[in-house]
């Protein structure tokens, strides 16, 4: 069945028709071709598909497309402003928080959602916020450091 979804993604209004059995992840990737958001497990375990929906970090593989109607969504593509990296992104690059980069978009969005609510989080709060994002390359240490530094720069 075809459904009609109106939503805002990275500040842009979309009005699309898509199949009702699609996940929000598929809509973002296949319909909007915003392929920054990744799929790693399809069951909400790895966090690679994390996006921000109405201010909350969610696994977009666990959200049916129809549920996105009338919501405001931010994906990794929405972090850069006017060709300039956000502080969070910049710190990820500078501090070695990125290796293969496949978990990075989800990791960034979990961190962003945290920083939106809690601009200068503690290490424990950071770990809690990204506990649902698996990374196999970095051992997480430099990721936590990059988020911590971003928080400190928000002071």
């Amino acid at each position: 069945m075809i459904i009609h979804i109106k939503f805002k993604v990275n500040g842009v209004d979309y009005d699309i028709k898509t199949e009702n059995n699609k996940r929000l992840l598929d809509v973002l990737r296949d319909d909007l071709r915003l392929t920054g958001t990744k799929e790693g497990c399809g069951i909400g375990e790895c966090g690679a598909c994390t996006i921000i929906m109405d201010g909350e970090a969610v696994n977009s593989c666990m959200v049916l497309a129809g549920r996105a109607n009338n919501t405001e969504i931010m994906t990794v593509e929405g972090l850069e402003k006017d060709g300039e990296l956000s502080t969070l992104q910049d710190n990820f690059v500078k501090m070695g928080a990125v290796q293969c980069g496949f978990c990075t978009p989800g990791m960034l969005m979990s961190a962003k959602a945290l920083l939106m609510k809690n601009p200068d989080p503690t290490v424990e709060e950071i770990k809690e916020a990204i506990a649902g994002n698996l990374c196999r390359c970095t051992g997480y240490t430099q990721i936590v450091e990059a988020i911590k530094k971003t928080g400190e720069e928000n002071r």
């Binding site: 990737r29 990744k38 399809g42 690679a48 290796q99 293969c100 980069g101 978009p105 506990a131 430099q142």
Partner: protein
């Protein structure tokens, strides 16, 4: 961290903006989606495949089986024994039987359900020891028995050595199947080329040139007809080598059948079911020591489960045989390792490559021996550990590089405050009933690059542009480890410029020579050397062009630093940019190919003797942990890791490798295990196969040791694999320190701590058909 040594990752921008395209992010006109039908049995004859009904479904464009493979039916890195499409027989539960190409993945699923395969189930073997019995059926017809490989090593006389020992200890260890669990699952898009019988293949492919060989062979075309283009890689850790060749062949056969681009992206379940794992080992160690702690003899007997295919088993087990007795001088050694065929999921390359298993066993054993002798494990290691000029089990004298084992141990002991903590924990444990604290150490040596496995050479193109910016393209691939950044840094250093002036071109087999696989922690050492040689050729050509401008009497007077080209005699200087422009208008070729061939190595397979590798690295790790004896939970509070990297060319990346490797090592030691029951994997997604999250450990303290190696670029050598191989034994020793009892099997999971054994259902040794 030293800010000056921080290098900005050159592919960081695209990876934090979502612009980096991984294979799954690519789309082509008229592209179809592909999916694989896998075997219903762990061992079965395939009598008939009927896919008429699948073809009737709207949106299905093609179904292929082994019959559609136009060339040879098999691939293989070492021996051609692996069928991308099962031909006559399925040998394990992940074997591909057929594949479909459809307009959507959903239609693919329906098409797979409509395929009817008639099987005749055959007796299957899931246990290595069962497989070795004379009466057991031979799983792979092209072999004489289920023993696929055997590597011996003989040195001195072990019987004599045991006779002169005061203490003899025999212990048996077991390790598990482990999943790579890169966050990006395997993906390939096969695109029919414009020319006849040509294909372009995009994919998350760790070793593009190896994959090209397999695809060309099975498609029955020359190598030049196949171009493999590596998309950004979402992690590999050794796991996207021959498994990707299998997938590339499947996609390419579908592309040929439909004459359209075909994209195949494995789901996590498919990724776990289909591709190879780390080899489970059974290891029997016998060690003899004199009272003063000197090792007199070691006898090691090991069995590795190869599963249904050979894959990298010969090379993996060969590395085990070279390093089985650890970084210790032992006069009398007898080692044997056997690679065994079963109907289990097949096993292959995985970061560490035959070392994590043996180090787990041998480093656990060393601590136990020390305990029996009434000394600390550190003392025993100091007595026997390699020093400058020591001789290995294969009679190779360790020279020509700094043998830094003692340095690594000293540094990690100092940083962790090992001896004081041992005392502190003794007091703590005496008072604490529920929680017990422990600290444990392990150390290793590791041969760099391929060694006597085979040809070891690689190339790189350094192309300087007229404005001083640079393209780099190398025969080894970026898998996430930071190779692009390291190689760019090596080239930038030759020209005395900032790394941001370099761009790294996508890896494409059409544009760069086959420089061997991106494995064995050989990239910095081998590929980095090739980049350096290429850059030096161009640098010398530029020197020649600017000699007149700089009024230099000798080319040796010209140096490249801080973005300038300088005559050190008269202090005359020009911008690097300007120098490139001069060379360009001088008609100089300012692009060059650097080629690096490794020094010769040798191995006598009959007796297992010879200089196995041309250089080695040394490392030592310490785990400090708390055991909750009520729940069985082990939490590593602090991990310390000291590694000699020669020269940390990319310092930020060096730390990242250590952090990442240590955490993978914790997973290996504590909770990762692919649960294979009667040939089928039970934990097929990340909700049941646990890899460490950020909350599963405390702090990691990396210690970077730099003793430049004459064979590496600016002295840099291997790091990726040493970082993962030590943690499981450090943890095992720490648990023993905490609890006063020893374990001989990993992972040391909750039930092992509480009940002394794993509570897993025991799998059948075999099955009757």
């Amino acid at each position: 961290m030293d800010e000056k040594r921080n290098i900005i990752r050159i592919d960081g921008y695209e990876k934090v903006t979502g612009r980096a395209k991984y294979c799954g992010d690519l789309y082509f006109d008229r592209m179809l989606y592909g999916k694989i039908l896998r075997s219903k049995y762990a061992h079965a004859k395939i009598l008939n495949i009927n896919y008429e009904k699948a073809l009737e479904i709207k949106g299905v464009h093609g179904v292929v089986t082994s019959w559609d493979v136009p060339g040879e039916k098999t691939i293989g890195a070492i021996r051609f024994d692996h069928f991308p499409f099962a031909t006559d027989k399925a040998l394990y539960s992940g074997d591909g039987i057929a594949a479909v190409a459809c307009e959507s993945e959903e239609i693919c699923d329906r098409a797979l359900e409509a395929i009817n395969v008639e099987y005749e189930e055959l007796p299957a073997i899931f246990d290595m020891f069962e497989a070795m019995k004379k009466e057991s059926p031979i799983i792979k017809e092209e072999f004489d028995s289920n023993i696929l490989t055997h590597y011996p090593l003989r040195k001195g006389n072990v019987e004599q050595g045991f006779k002169s020992s005061d203490l003899i200890l025999e212990r048996e260890f077991n390790t598990q199947f482990v999943e790579h669990a890169y966050i990006e699952t395997e993906a390939v898009i096969a695109v029919p080329g414009e020319a006849k019988d040509c294909y372009e293949i995009y994919g998350s492919i760790q070793c593009p040139h190896s994959t090209r060989k397999g695809v060309a062979r099975t498609m029955g075309v020359p190598l030049k007809n196949i171009r493999i283009i590596q998309a950004n890689m979402g992690g590999a850790f050794g796991g996207k080598d021959d498994s990707m060749t299998i997938l590339a062949v499947r996609a390419c056969v579908l592309a040929k059948k439909t004459n359209r681009p075909v994209k195949v992206v494995y789901s996590r379940e498919e990724s776990i079911i289909d591709t190879y794992k780390r080899h489970p080992y059974n290891l029997k160690y016998k060690i003899g020591v004199s009272k003063d702690g000197k090792i007199q003899a070691m006898k090691v007997l090991m069995y590795a489960d190869s599963g249904a295919y050979l894959s990298m088993t010969p090379f993996v087990t060969w590395r085990s045989v070279v390093q089985a007795t650890g970084p210790y001088e032992v006069e009398n050694v007898e080692t044997d390792i056997y690679g065994i065929a079963t109907n289990n999921p097949y096993t292959g390359a995985f970061r560490g490559f035959g070392s994590p298993q043996i180090i787990y066993a041998q480093e656990s054993l060393m601590d136990e021996v020390a305990e029996k002798l009434g000394m600390d494990g550190v003392e025993l290691r100091r007595i026997n550990g390699y020093k400058q000029g020591s001789t290995t089990a294969s009679c190779q004298k360790l020279e020509g590089h700094k043998v830094s084992l003692m340095e690594a141990m000293d540094k990690v002991i100092e940083k962790s405050d090992y001896f004081n903590k041992k005392e502190e924990f003794k007091i703590y444990n005496a008072k604490s009933e529920r929680f017990k604290k422990g600290i444990g150490l392990s150390c290793s040596f590791r041969g760099c690059s391929l060694g006597a496995e085979g040809t070891d050479a690689t190339g790189a193109i350094v192309s300087v542009q007229a404005d001083g910016s640079i393209y780099i393209l190398a025969g080894l691939a970026e898998n996430g480890q930071g190779l692009k950044t390291t190689f760019s840094k090596i080239a930038a250093d030759v020209f005395g410029i900032d790394v941001s002036n370099c761009s790294y071109l996508p890896q494409d087999t059409g544009f760069i020579a086959d420089g061997g696989p991106t494995v064995a922690s050989r990239s910095t050492l081998m590929g980095g050397s090739a980049v350096k040689l290429g850059a030096e050729i161009v640098r010398d050509r530029i020197k020649d062009s600017v000699k007149k401008t700089l009024e230099a009497s000798s080319l040796d007077d010209i140096v490249f630093e801080n973005g300038k080209v300088i005559n050190i005699k008269n202090k005359k200087e020009i911008e690097f940019k300007k120098a490139c422009e001069i060379a360009y208008f001088d008609g100089k070729n300012i692009t060059a190919y650097g080629w690096y061939k490794a020094p010769d190595v040798y191995w006598d397979e009959e007796i297992g003797q010879g200089p196995a590798y041309f250089t080695y690295v040394y490392g030592s790790q310490i785990a400090e942990l708390t055991v909750d004896t009520w729940t069985g939970k082990i939490f590593v509070d602090n991990a310390y890791a000291a590694h000699d990297v020669g020269n940390a060319i990319n310092y930020t990346g060096t730390l990242g490798q250590i952090y990442g490797g240590v955490v993978q090592g914790m997973g290996y030691g504590l909770f990762e295990e692919v649960d294979v029951q009667d040939g089928f994997i039970k934990n097929t997604n990340l909700d049941e196969y646990f890899i460490p999250t950020v909350k599963d450990f405390g702090n990691i303290y990396p210690i970077v040791i730099e003793n430049p190696d004459k064979y590496g670029p600016s002295g840099g050598k291997s790091l990726g694999e040493p970082t993962i191989e030590l943690m499981s034994s450090a943890i095992n020793n720490a648990v023993s320190n905490a609890m006063g009892k020893r374990f001989y099997k990993i992972p040391i999971d909750l039930e092992t701590i509480v009940t002394g054994k794993q509570l897993k259902r025991k799998q059948k040794r075999g099955s009757e058909a």
